[in-house]
């Protein structure tokens, strides 16, 4: 009878509650379902069977998800690829900084020559060194863009870590911490630190001037 099943279910759930408390970890769901199904006794209705089938499918789905995530080797992504990418990007910043300083060294030495040159030539040389100084702006922008990418990688790393933890020891990890973004939160100083925008999205000096003058 279905009422027998309901009573058995209630007793079984109570036993599980005493054993595990009100919260069951994702990694334990499969075991709980298995334990419940093997403990069934008495008459089972068609509705009960359908429900058990659904629960079994759910358990299988969770198991498969764990296998697939484990196959992705999330800890390799975290420990090897992201760490390596971060190092590479840091190296790019270092290399461009060194190169820029070498260019600046050379430009400053050229500028020193102006005192030994006729004024017209000196003036032309100064114009060219100015262009070199201006062009060296790129290093600052490059550094800031790469810092943004490194921050994004670190964010991905944290999410992978949370995923690994959520799915338990089978893929070496605990619980995915979803961080809700509150669109109505007040803008803080930190929110204003966006770094350089991509060229197609960035305001140019003229639009900055127009905005500045209209505030």
């Amino acid at each position: 009878m279905s009422s027998t099943v309901d009573r058995d279910l209630a007793l079984h759930l109570e036993a599980l509650r005493k054993q595990l408390g009100d919260t069951v970890k994702v990694e334990d769901v499969g075991d709980v379902v298995r334990s419940f199904l093997t403990s069934l006794s008495g008459d089972v209705s068609a509705g009960d069977l359908k429900l058990y089938g659904e629960v079994q499918s759910l358990a299988a789905y969770i198991h498969n998800a764990k296998v697939e995530i484990a196959a992705l080797k999330p800890q390799d992504i975290q420990n090897q690829y992201i760490a390596s990418a971060t190092d590479e990007l840091d190296a790019i910043v270092g290399a461009t900084e060194n190169a820029t300083n070498s260019i600046l060294d050379a430009a400053e030495k050229l500028e020193l020559l102006t005192s030994e040159l006729p004024s017209e030539t000196a003036s032309r040389l100064t114009e060219q060194t100015t262009l070199i100084y201006e062009a060296c702006n790129f290093q600052d922008i490059t550094g800031q863009r790469i810092t943004k990418v490194v921050k994004a990688l670190k964010h991905i790393e944290e999410r992978i870590d949370a995923l690994v933890v959520a799915f338990g020891p089978e893929i070496q990890g605990s619980e995915l911490n979803g961080v809700a973004l509150d669109g109505n939160a007040p803008v803080t100083d930190e929110d204003l630190l966006n770094g350089p925008q991509l060229p197609e999205k960035a305001h140019d000096q003229a639009s900055i001037d127009a905005l500045f003058d209209n505030i």
Partner: protein
């Protein structure tokens, strides 16, 4: 009245290369008394001990940002009238608005050229 090119100028940026670029551009414009700071708190310390006719500051620095420095300067009785130009890659509208509301004298977006730097200095200081 002509701008005194002997005035002390403070440039603030956490990228030493950028400090060097701005210093060179200022030198080409005839300014010789140039000091440098690598974040807002260092700049504030220098300002409290010196007499600067102009501050040219980056925004994105730690531990004290250019915006925080600007607010400190504008709330300090001795420093509040110091001309302050923000030179930054932060080019979103909300950044310009926040800087203007905090009392910035002018705003230059990176990358910039010598002509823009000179034009903004003229708009803040007058012809030189």
């Amino acid at each position: 009245m002509a701008v005194d090119k002997n005035m002390h100028v403070l440039i603030v940026d956490d990228y030493k290369t950028m400090l060097r670029i701005i210093r060179n551009l200022l030198r080409q414009l005839g300014f010789v008394n140039i000091d440098e700071a690598t974040d807002g708190s260092m700049a504030l310390q220098l300002m409290r001990g010196g007499n600067y006719g102009l501050v040219i500051s980056d925004w994105n620095m730690e531990p004290m940002t250019g915006l925080q420095l600007l607010r400190e300067v504008r709330s300090d009785a001795k420093l509040k009238n110091t001309p302050f130009i923000m030179v930054t890659a932060e080019s979103k509208s909300e950044n310009v608005i926040a800087a203007k509301e905090a009392g910035v004298s002018n705003y230059i977006v990176k990358p910039f050229n010598a002509e823009t730097l000179q034009a903004k200095m003229v708009s803040v200081l007058g012809e030189f």
